[in-house]
Symmetry: C2
Subunit: 210 residues, 2 copies
């Protein structure tokens, strides 16, 4: 009985996941507006009606997609900043994690980076609000890291939040350009080391540690 419903639960989740994957595929190929529910359904190998049993609208699919990814990235970042390493080390790790994530989720980033600004409603609607909060949580996470680094004299005195924003901006733009140029198999992660030096070199107290 309980077993049964557990399996049901699992299967439900699995199907939901499949739909999200299909949607990610389609959205990244054609963008939000030019992807139809029919295409999503077909790509997920379900009928349209079925898709609607899992998500109440196309918009909700999009938002769920973004939310799941942003959440995933946030928890990866939390993981990366947990250990006992030095602050600059942690910062380098943050950079690596984010770039690696973009690398592995290239399709997703293509929609995310390229459309979030076009969707004012994303930020305004209740759902979008959740997404936005999670994004801000990323910023805060790194801002705290910077605060720490200032205390430990690893970084000079800067506004932590602004600086965190700047770092994220730097990473985002790098990711963006990398995605747009769609070059061969240039690795995004490789740029992390250089970006790290740039950022730390710019922010470091006197001479850069490590």
């Amino acid at each position: 009985m309980d077993q049964r419903s557990q399996r049901k639960q699992r299967e439900y989740e699995a199907r939901r996941e499949e739909i999200l994957l299909a949607a990610e595929r389609m959205f990244s190929q054609h963008g939000f507006f030019k992807t139809s529910m029919a295409e999503i359904a077909e790509s997920a190998q379900f009928a349209m009606g079925t898709v609607y049993r899992f998500f109440k609208s196309k918009e909700e699919i999009y938002i769920s997609l973004v939310e799941a990814k942003v959440e995933e990235l946030l928890s990866l970042l939390k993981e990366a900043t947990k250990g006992g390493a030095s602050t600059p080390e942690k910062l380098r790790e943050v950079i690596n994690v984010k770039l690696a994530f973009a690398d592995q989720n290239r399709d997703f980033f293509r929609i995310y980076v390229s459309e979030w600004s076009g969707f004012e409603w994303t930020v305004k609607s209740a759902f979008g609000d959740r997404v936005w909060k999670k994004y801000l949580a990323q910023i805060d996470l790194v801002a705290n890291l910077i605060k720490e680094g200032i205390k430990s004299k690893d970084f000079r005195k800067v506004n932590p939040k602004d600086t965190s924003l700047a770092l994220h901006g730097m990473l985002n733009s790098t990711i963006y350009v990398w995605i747009l140029q769609a070059g061969p198999k240039e690795s995004l992660v490789d740029k992390g080391k250089w970006l790290g030096s740039l950022f730390l070199g710019g922010i470091g107290a006197v001479t850069t540690k490590s």
Copy 2:
């Protein structure tokens, strides 16, 4: 007779221009997909049928806008590199012109950046090709400038085209971030000086001139 048709011509152009301006206004506010032809027509104070006498589709309006902008920027850049100033000066001017242009066309750039993935005319279609060629012309223009600078020993020996691409990449990413973060009234142009030093400092022969 000839006078007459000349005036007709002028008036035709003026109307076309008005429609483009209205479209730019609407697209900038709501994005491409959420702007309807009815809105464009209303904003231009024409009826829909009239708008269709000037442009055969909504997409064509958008395309014409993009093309005009890219063209405009190219000619501004040509202007900037014409005089008798030193090569590093010209380079700084290129940076300023490009940033100022993005600054003045902020709203428009935002849709361009955020929605272009929704179109199928990428670099392949006849249109995308025209735009792309004009973009490459910008790269070449600057590449020639760099070549000049190398000859005059203002710059060290680098691959001019690659370096030009790098500079454009640097500017683009700065512009992207600035556009996407949609901050208050931070000036983009103000960043030009700093970007200039960075680029020239990196490329300068021994110590940077000016």
